[in-house]
Symmetry: C2
Subunit: 401 residues, 2 copies
């Protein structure tokens, strides 16, 4: 058995990011930039006004000075002449300042009658100006490769005059559930039959991670059928199997994958839920074999599939973020397997998180997992912990999971 951290490190180091594709700006949200982008223009392109008011030409600019308004500079309609002494041009927020502008007089500090303008507050040259290039200059790097693009980044790329961006291709992730006992949602079930929930939960998790899931038909517990399913899966960026890894005498998935040419890296991890987790490479395709229990499958997916998809997407593939919380109940000492306890959270006065692991942690209880707010981490051989002790948790809400 290997540790959780070693397992994730081996998976991530075996995975290369997908190649780049060119997508329109409107399709780039949530994608990971593959090539730096530099500004194709300077923003603002010229000195602009940050306020509504008047651009003032050369003059003492004292209270009581009178000037003549000779025109207007509106957004999209810059004033093309040059401001002379004792002249003013009407301007608005975002107006280009005319040549010859000495200072800006905001409209609250002006009295205007016809084309006569009176200064009611002494001028402060440079104030209320957005100088050319204040936001960025042509050629400056706006966004770097490896960044997952949020709405602000899309806006920045647009402002830099980019209509197309090079992003990593969305990873295509095949999902293969195996088992004689599982059936598609909505079907009539025979005695002992259960619904295949893993494929659909994993497909949603793959989507949440920004990749594209392909749910393969269920393969029965028959090695020929599993080999056929695996051979149809050769073009994915990642293949996830579920089931067949913890059924004792009936472990056909690993056998079928090995028969198909998979090089097995590891298949047991010192963790609970989910010891029998498999990783290998089938030609160039990474394969992660998850346990069949729905809770084990999803917890392992959070710990290993999300980092794998991140690595495929051009991101580092880090462990899920943890935060500190205080135990609401005592916990007994842990054995040699890292434990991920399904837990609820509350917030104490003062803002401290308080975490309550469910008393029952059976890995078949999907409803409990769905109602959990967090996973409480217990390191291998962690000593007994008292109520109030600090532990690390993985919050589940933020993942779309």
């Amino acid at each position: 058995m290997i540790s959780v951290d070693e397992a994730r490190a081996r998976i991530v180091s075996a995975i290369r990011a997908t190649p780049a594709e060119q997508v329109g700006l409107s399709e780039a949200w949530g994608r990971v930039l593959a090539i730096d982008i530099a500004a194709r223009l300077t923003q603002p392109p010229a000195d602009m006004s940050a306020m509504d008011g008047y651009a003032i030409g050369a003059c003492p600019g004292a209270v009581g000075d009178e000037l003549r308004v000779i025109g207007e500079s509106a957004a999209g309609h810059p004033f093309t002449g040059t401001l002379g002494a004792h002249q003013a041009v009407r301007i608005f927020t975002g107006s280009v300042l005319p040549a010859g502008t000495h200072a800006i007089l905001i409209q609250e500090d002006a009295t205007r009658e016809g084309d006569r303008l009176r200064i009611n507050e002494a001028l402060a040259p440079g104030k209320h100006v957005r100088p050319a290039g204040q936001d960025f200059r042509r050629g400056e790097t706006l966004l770097s490769a490896g960044k997952r693009l949020g709405a602000r980044d899309i806006g920045l790329a647009a402002a830099g005059n980019h209509a197309w961006l090079a992003v990593h291709r969305r990873p295509l992730v095949g999902i293969l559930a195996t088992g004689d006992e599982i059936f598609l949602p909505g079907e009539d079930l025979p005695p002992g039959g259960i619904v295949s929930s893993n494929s659909h939960a994993l497909a949603a998790l793959v989507r949440a991670a920004g990749a594209e899931p392909v749910v393969l038909p269920i393969a029965r517990d028959e090695i020929g059928e599993i080999i056929a399913a695996v051979s149809s899966a050769a073009r994915f960026d990642l293949l996830i199997t579920t089931g067949g890894a913890s059924v004792g005498d009936h472990d056909l998935v690993q056998a079928a994958l090995k028969h198909s040419g998979m090089e097995l890296d590891f298949w047991r991890i010192a963790m609970r839920p989910g010891k029998p987790l498999m990783f290998g490479q089938l030609r160039d395709m990474p394969v992660i074999g998850l346990p069949g229990n729905p809770v084990s499958a999803l917890v392992c997916a959070i710990l290993f599939v999300l980092p794998a998809i991140a690595a495929l997407s051009g991101l580092p593939g880090e462990a899920p973020a943890t935060v500190a919380a205080r135990l609401a109940v005592p916990l007994s000492a842990n054995d040699r397997r890292a434990d991920y306890l399904r837990s609820t959270l509350s917030t104490e006065a003062g803002g401290t998180l308080r975490v309550s692991p469910f008393p029952r942690q059976d890995s078949s209880q999907l409803k409990l997992l769905a109602s959990a707010d967090a996973l409480t981490l217990r390191a291998p051989h962690a000593p007994a912990a008292a109520a109030g002790d600090e532990v690390r948790i993985i919050r589940l809400a933020g993942f779309g999971i």
Copy 2:
């Protein structure tokens, strides 16, 4: 001018959730459930084994007892007979327990030779059993209306044998940018021209919120053109305009909307960036008019458009979550407008968040906004604050924003 909280409350209370549609389970991730779903079966359907081992029929079950193995119960292939006294059936994790099962003997505690089985550890009836209905029972509510469906929920709906779910229709959000000075990304710009970044940033934000954006062609600063654009937008669940609200003498958007029949609710909010924010109803369609400055537009979108889309989606439409942080620098007293300072975050030893507002907060600086980790909140009339004082912040990373 009204407060930020009042503005959001008015927007959210004027919005009704979109009606329900029926979607396949594979399309339901991220959608908001419109109707409760109840389990269509009991899970587990029968008492099942939590371990690999043997189901043991009636017997004393002491160490050294010998039994006869009469068959096997594998996943999908339950044993159909009844266990008699001193009989055993081979079982695996997830196997249905045969009728007549007295206890489970895990395989580590058994010695088997042919069909003879020896008990090496005293039996504990009830142990290692997943009783029927442990996860949920037929008819039990699994997920309630108003829940945004994560991967775990999709798995739970599948496990409850649902192939179809009723979810709120994805809100369709029209985005109309106006202005003579703005052009599409990738175009050649005339002097004073800038790229329309708001539409594209807002479209990404709409997507991040789980809604569907429709970017309308840019309308020039001409009232007839804006009226025509507005009339083409009548079928959206929400119309967002940007620009035309802070250009002083040139406020054509509000005029065009009123001419088209919009009832104006409010148009000024005591906040910075973004005072000139408009809200109204055009027949049944809510309209939010955002400022034209890219930073103001995005900050206002976080504060008002995200709650509006949440309300349209069947969620409560709450204010963005805030967390506590300590100021890295002092701040001067605030005026009567709530301030949302673009800021970076770091984490001190001990885990406390430390927030540094950028020294320059001009609302045209999109690159600064894109590099910000958080918005630092300053209430109206907040007194001067010292470095180390606690403030509330909105973290920007988690939104896809």
